[in-house]
Amino acid sequence: MNFWFILAQVLGVITIAFEFTSYQIKDKSKYFLTTGIGSFFWLTMFFCMGMATGMDTQVSLMVAATYSTIRNLVFWRIFAKNTPQSKELGINFLLVMVGVALVAGTLAIINSPEQVRWLHTLGMIAALSFVIGQYLPGVHYVRVTVTLYALVVILTQTPLNILYGDFRWNIMGIAIELAKISSVAVFYLRFSKNPKQPQLQFAKP
């Protein structure tokens, strides 16, 4: 078997580990760092797949992974600093990210075959919700929106999606998204078993 293909699978497993871990973390800054590292391995996975099977089909995925990596790591620094200035920078960055996702999503919808336009429209809505959900306060918005996003991405990795004109299942892609969904499920299972913690942590006198 091709070395690059095997390496891509290893990187995929590492991505799964980071993505799974990230949704167990409540602290925003640590979450963004962990998912950012996961996104970086995701990017390298696509690169290795490109080396194994040809870059043509991987370029758009590498662009998407680069977008995720940069977004997560910038948000990591913004939440770690947590100053009015960093928050202002963060919100401006978020708006740029939403704008980029909107343009890229619209182009993807326009260029997709008519039969699957609904799927790509759903994809864009889910991606936008996720980008905003990641930034919103609390632990719930990000987990609800990532579940929606992962479900839609899974659909695009199945024979439902005929974007590239073939009907292959992308097993590793599905596994990565399933890792996110299962991590959210585990998080809520842990959450329900623990004694209820208040969302706002006030200091003792």
Binding site: K87, E88, L136, P137, P198, Q199, K204, P205
Partner: protein
Amino acid sequence: MYKIISDGGCDFTKEEVQKHNVDIVPFYVMLENDTYLREGVDITKEAYYKRLKEDKSLFPKTAQPSPQDYIDIYTPYLKAGRDILSLTISSKLSGTYNSATLAADMLKDEFPDRTIVVVDSLNCAVGQGLILKEIVKMRDNGYSITKTAELAKKVIETVRIYFSLDSLEYLKKGGRVGPTTALVGGILGLRPILHIVDGTVDQLDSVRGKDRVLNLIEEGVVDALKDDVQDINLSIGHILREDDAVKFKASLEASLGIQIANPVVEVGVTIGTHAGPGALAIAYCKKYETLEK
């Protein structure tokens, strides 16, 4: 017996001022026409906030009491042979502590036998009010001015104060958040929760939903206080939100199983100008008796 004096940051009602026998040095506020008005003397807090709510373009200036204001209020007590314990709003939020300290220094030569102790509350609003109440209790229980100041500093270390703001609008006007943060936060309905850390205002979190935020604050307070609720003193303040504040107090009393002795009060202009109408504040601290050991 020494005299207790505080600036207007303590949010004492007129009744509390009389009952606890303290003097208040008011802050100044300038609404328009370049005329400074004394808070609680020339303009009531309620009138001030209504004006602020009605005129969205208005962002008033506030000013601290001057050293001369302190000299004017200290002098008669010093002449009467009394020492003074002066509590001020956090020195990191206002220059009031400087004014009070300068006045004390200036009066030292004239009254060499008298003592003026200026205590920096490192707090404001109902948080400062709680410290003042502990100081009053110590005075009434016969503690010396030195012992009171020493214990007051221990109380100050235990004070926690949280503000729920109705919007980001006034923080934007005061330059505490950027315009995009305020715009997006407004669209998303985010309500910031502020607290005071080491004397300065910091943002703890933001929450969506006007009613939800009160529930979350109540949960947070109950969690923080449940283990030693009998050892704490607690106070609630608001800005043009009395009904919600009263309901919140009743709900908190039920959750904690205690009666909160302090009345619900209107937050003063220094903090209120930056927090804006609709804000709600809660503060708590340890009673001084628990810190004596």
